[in-house]
């Protein structure tokens, strides 16, 4: 019996049983090994450190394809460019004033999403969209009224599917796909929002394009947060998906901070970025998503 390879046992039931036994045996050995390792490492923490140093799992993040657009931490050129870009005014202290609207005849879910947005961004005003004016006209109206940003939520089958973010008065315009929306009330054990200006965390926007998008988000919020509200808004970029979260936090001690989610959650994915104001016909696309661009999952643009 021992001489026969398990895969060559002809009786299917028997073969299964042997396999099962082998599986269990394997697990036992593994557990034992781990237990011993743990014991050794408890006695000698250096071993553990050494192991963790060597045993770095390969992930999509650390095997990312080389991208010359990735910005180094202290890149003087980029810093100077950013001092003169469209958002520079905001970062020099101009208060944001934001308008949000939808496509004409918006459905209930879309309006609900917009209401969530209103609770997130201070100084955000919702105006119901009529069918009389084209978006380009609305942009003009907003410019005349000195809005700094315009958000348009687009829907399909009565569900919000896209968000267009237009920075005024000179652009740029970004168009995002919007997915996996979860309202604040749907989140179990959610906290309630207060009207304090939230803190902002922008995680992992690494390339030039990512910096632009990150700065666009940053420009929506008042620059000086009200820390007593302990609210933090996060835009976390991972593999080009931008995850939005909002939490209330408590510093328990110097090592621990507890979070309670306020909501909503949603995910954005950049579809295109136009240089100036929204112009579907003659607009200059700084970046445009095409299926051809997805040559590898290790290629990331933001």
């Amino acid at each position: 019996m021992n001489n026969i390879a398990t895969s060559e046992i002809k009786n299917k039931v028997k073969r299964g049983q042997v396999y099962e036994k082998q599986r269990i045996e394997k697990g036992k050995v593994k557990r034992l090994r781990r237990k011993e390792l743990k014991k050794e490492e408890a006695e000698n923490p250096e071993l553990r450190e050494a192991r963790l140093r060597e045993n770095v799992p390969t992930t999509q993040e650390n095997t990312r394809e080389f991208d010359e657009a990735v910005v180094a931490d202290a890149d003087d050129e980029v810093v100077k460019e950013e001092e003169e870009d469209e958002f520079a005014q905001y970062f020099n202290g101009q208060a944001p004033k934001v308008l949000v609207t939808t496509t004409p005849k918006a459905g209930k879910q879309t309006v609900n999403f917009v209401k969530e947005l209103v609770s997130i961004v201070p100084n955000l005003e919702y105006v119901k969209r009529g069918s009389k004016f084209a978006l380009q006209q609305i942009i003009q109206f907003c410019k005349n009224r000195e809005y700094t940003d315009l958000i348009v939520v687009t829907e399909d089958h009565k569900e919000p599917t896209h968000v267009t973010l237009i920075h005024l008065p000179e652009g740029p315009t970004a168009h995002f796909r919007l997915t996996r929306i979860k309202g604040g009330k749907e989140i179990l054990g959610h906290a309630r929002a207060t009207s304090h200006y939230p803190e902002l965390i922008l995680n992992q926007f690494s390339t030039r394009l990512g910096h632009t998008v990150g700065r666009m988000f940053a420009a929506l919020f008042p620059q000086v947060p009200e820390f007593q509200g302990r609210q933090v808004v996060t835009f976390h970029n991972q593999r080009d998906y931008i995850f939005f979260r909002r939490h209330r936090y408590v510093f328990k001690n110097s090592k621990r901070v507890d979070l309670q989610e306020i909501g909503p959650r949603f995910t954005l994915k950049l579809r295109w970025l136009q240089k100036g104001l929204y112009d579907p016909v003659n607009g200059e696309y700084e970046w445009l998503y095409k299926a051809d661009l997805e040559t590898s999952r290790r290629r990331v643009f933001l």
């Binding site: 992930t59 999509q60 993040e61 084209a134 978006l135 380009q136 796909r177 997915t179 996996r180 965390i201 995680n203 820390f227 007593q228 509200g229 302990r230 933090v232 996060t234 976390h236 991972q238 593999r239 080009d240 998906y241 995850f243 979260r245 939490h247 936090y249 408590v250 510093f251 328990k252 001690n253 110097s254 090592k255 901070v257 979070l259 995910t267 994915k269 579907p280 299926a291 999952r297």
Partner: protein, 332 residues
């Protein structure tokens, strides 16, 4: 050669390929028809004197047909381009159809009005943004959905947010007197900074004697870092006392009374074995009473620390949390 009556006879009674019979009446599909109706008067084929207004590529023309040119079918229609201005166009119609039947002039003008209006509407629509239909690519959608889920898992959002917040707190991004931090926590951080600074100085000095001295001083914060149960730290000195001089009964008095009652038999055994007995008792209690444990207060933390070595089922977090909640109530 040119007998309108015969033509009409044929078209009306035999066959006309432009004729459409409907419930409303007979209609005409001929592009030169002035009104679209099919009758003797408005038929463009059976009338050798006929006028109409047509639009091609955004331009409006007045088309006239007279009996004099009936013998040259290629030049049968006289085409006059009408000016873009409506009033001028009307004038042109009037001047070119001076002695034509009144109803025909009137119909031409009506047709001109209609064409001008739809041209205006067309231009307006061109200026408006058209909504375009975009195909939903099922495969792409599915791929993006799964990748999104995986990206979210890889992002470890909570951890990364927590890390960022702690970094901000420690780098003093919230200022010298932060409003979002409990006073005790802030003190702890400031102390931690002070200790770090001190230890830095000592490493630079690299004097052995001093090092020893400093090490003793820095022992407490060092313990701060690696001991799992924070509230233990303050009791470190007491622990030592316990180990050195405390009798079994004294020790047990620090524990929960309920447990004491249950474990009396064991505690009565000699003082030589106290250590092992203690750990046993703690072990028992751990298995027995979770609820009681949760309710117990600070002095009981020593035995829990010991039991942690024995098994994974330790409820230390309950206790620390209870303490923290009290703090919160008073300070927030």
């Amino acid at each position: 050669m040119n007998n309108d009556g015969i033509v009409w006879e044929v078209l009306n009674n035999q066959f006309c390929s432009y004729k459409v019979k409907t419930d409303v009446g007979n209609l005409c599909r001929h592009p030169h028809n002035l009104t679209g109706r099919c009758n003797r008067r408005e038929c463009p084929l059976a009338n050798s004197k006929y006028a109409t207004v047509r639009e091609t590529a955004g331009r409006i023309y007045l088309c006239l047909k007279t009996a004099e040119r009936a013998h040259i079918p290629s030049k049968q229609w006289e085409r006059i381009e009408l000016p873009k201005n409506f009033a001028q166009a009307v004038e042109v119609i009037d001047s070119n159809m001076q002695y034509w039947p009144k109803w025909m002039i009137h119909m031409c003008k009506q047709r001109l009005t209609k064409i001008t209006q739809y041209l205006i509407r067309m231009r307006k629509l061109k200026l408006k943004n058209k909504s375009t239909l975009v195909p939903i690519k099922k495969k792409l959608e599915r791929r993006e959905r799964t990748r999104e889920v995986r990206a979210e898992a890889a992002a470890r959002l909570d951890q990364s947010i927590e890390k960022e917040l702690l970094e901000r707190l420690k780098s003093k991004a919230y200022g010298d007197q932060p409003l979002n931090v409990n006073e005790a926590v802030w003190k702890e951080i400031l102390e931690g900074d002070a200790v770090e600074a001190e230890s830095d100085v000592t490493t630079e000095d690299e004097l052995e004697e001093e090092n020893e001295y400093e090490f003793d001083k820095a022992k407490d914060p060092f313990a701060h870092e690696f001991v799992s149960d924070d509230s233990d730290l303050e009791n470190d000195g007491e622990d030592m006392e316990d180990l050195l001089g405390m009798s079994a009964s004294e020790f047990s008095s620090a524990e929960d009374e309920d447990e004491e009652e249950e474990d009396e038999g064991e505690y009565e055994s000699g003082s030589d074995d106290e250590m092992s007995e203690d750990s046993d008792a703690a072990d028992h209690s751990d298995k027995r009473a979770k609820g009681k444990r949760a309710a117990s207060s600070a002095p009981r933390q020593k035995p829990t620390k010991r039991t942690k070595k024995h098994g994974p089922r330790v409820e230390i977090e309950y206790e620390t949390e209870a303490v923290a909640k009290d703090n919160m109530l008073t300070n927030w």
